[in-house]
């Protein structure tokens, strides 16, 4: 189920700029299927967590109000090039995905 997730992390001065692209339909549960007229069941990421070298830097709660294939950018002060960024997400159906990247 879980599609790959892409992370890019680059250092800009002493701040790591992390960009994450997740693959997810992000259905709100309010949209109707054009063919059947039935509501498309809600299916969206509810939680995203990010760690740098195992230390938590971001815990996010998301809703269906985030666009399909969510993009998330954040900045972390302190890490060095070569440090490891790990991003995990969980959706409302219990699916989850995790990816890691090295800060470059």
């Amino acid at each position: 189920m879980a599609e790959p997730m892409r992370i890019r992390a680059t250092m800009a001065g002493d701040v790591a700029d992390v960009k994450v692209l997740m693959n997810h339909p992000m259905e709100t549960g309010l949209r109707k299927d054009a063919k059947t007229g039935q509501l498309v069941p809600a299916h969206y990421i509810t939680d995203v967590t990010a760690t740098v070298n195992g230390a938590s830097v971001l815990e996010a709660g998301l809703s269906g109000g985030i666009s399909k294939n969510p993009y998330l950018g954040f900045k972390v002060k302190g890490p060095k090039a070569g440090d490891k960024v790990v991003v995990n997400w969980t959706d409302n159906k219990g699916d989850k995905n995790s990816a890691e990247a090295t800060i470059g």
């Binding site: 960009k19 815990e59 996010a60 709660g61 998301l62 969510p70 993009y71």
Partner: protein, 155 residues
């Protein structure tokens, strides 16, 4: 970040694992994984959402910058960037005021995370995009209007 939480997140059974942890009283149900209770995401108005977040009466702040288009052609994808210049920013929440459920996302910033979040949101119609920033136990807010040509919440 405690070891239990890591295990919960890594648990193969997903929601099941979380449910078990909640049932066992290891995690508080209202804040199973994030800082804001899920009820805030279901709130139908900005006021209710703020109340459920425990952030009633936020103070208007000029130190919060919201970067979003003045006119969004496609409401399904509206890029929003929030920068908080407030020292000690620990959380940033984003709301689209006229969406069916205004609270779009909440970000708890920890470790060395800066007061900056960039993402893309859906907007049903023209409305204010509001950022709610928590810093030092206080809440601050700022808003920017985004005109939406084609709504992105319906079919």
């Amino acid at each position: 970040m405690n070891a239990l939480r890591r295990n919960v997140l890594k648990g193969a059974a997903g929601a099941g694992t979380v449910a078990v942890a909640v049932a066992a009283g290891l995690l508080k149900p209202t804040q199973a994984l994030a800082g804001v209770p899920r009820s805030a995401f279901e709130a139908k108005s900005v006021g209710d959402a703020l109340k459920n977040m425990g952030a009633s009466g936020p103070i208007d702040s000029k130190d919060i910058t919201i970067k979003a288009p003045d006119i969004a052609e496609n409401g399904a994808v509206v890029p929003v960037e929030v920068t908080s210049g407030i020292a000690g920013t620990s959380a940033i929440a984003i709301m689209a005021e006229k969406n069916a459920t205004p609270l779009v996302a909440d970000f708890s910033l920890k470790g060395g995370a800066e007061g900056y979040i960039s993402t893309r949101i859906k907007m049903g119609q023209t409305s204010l995009v509001r950022a709610v920033v928590t810093a030092g136990g206080k809440t601050y807010t700022a808003a920017k209007e985004v005109k939406v040509t084609i709504g992105g919440c319906g079919g």
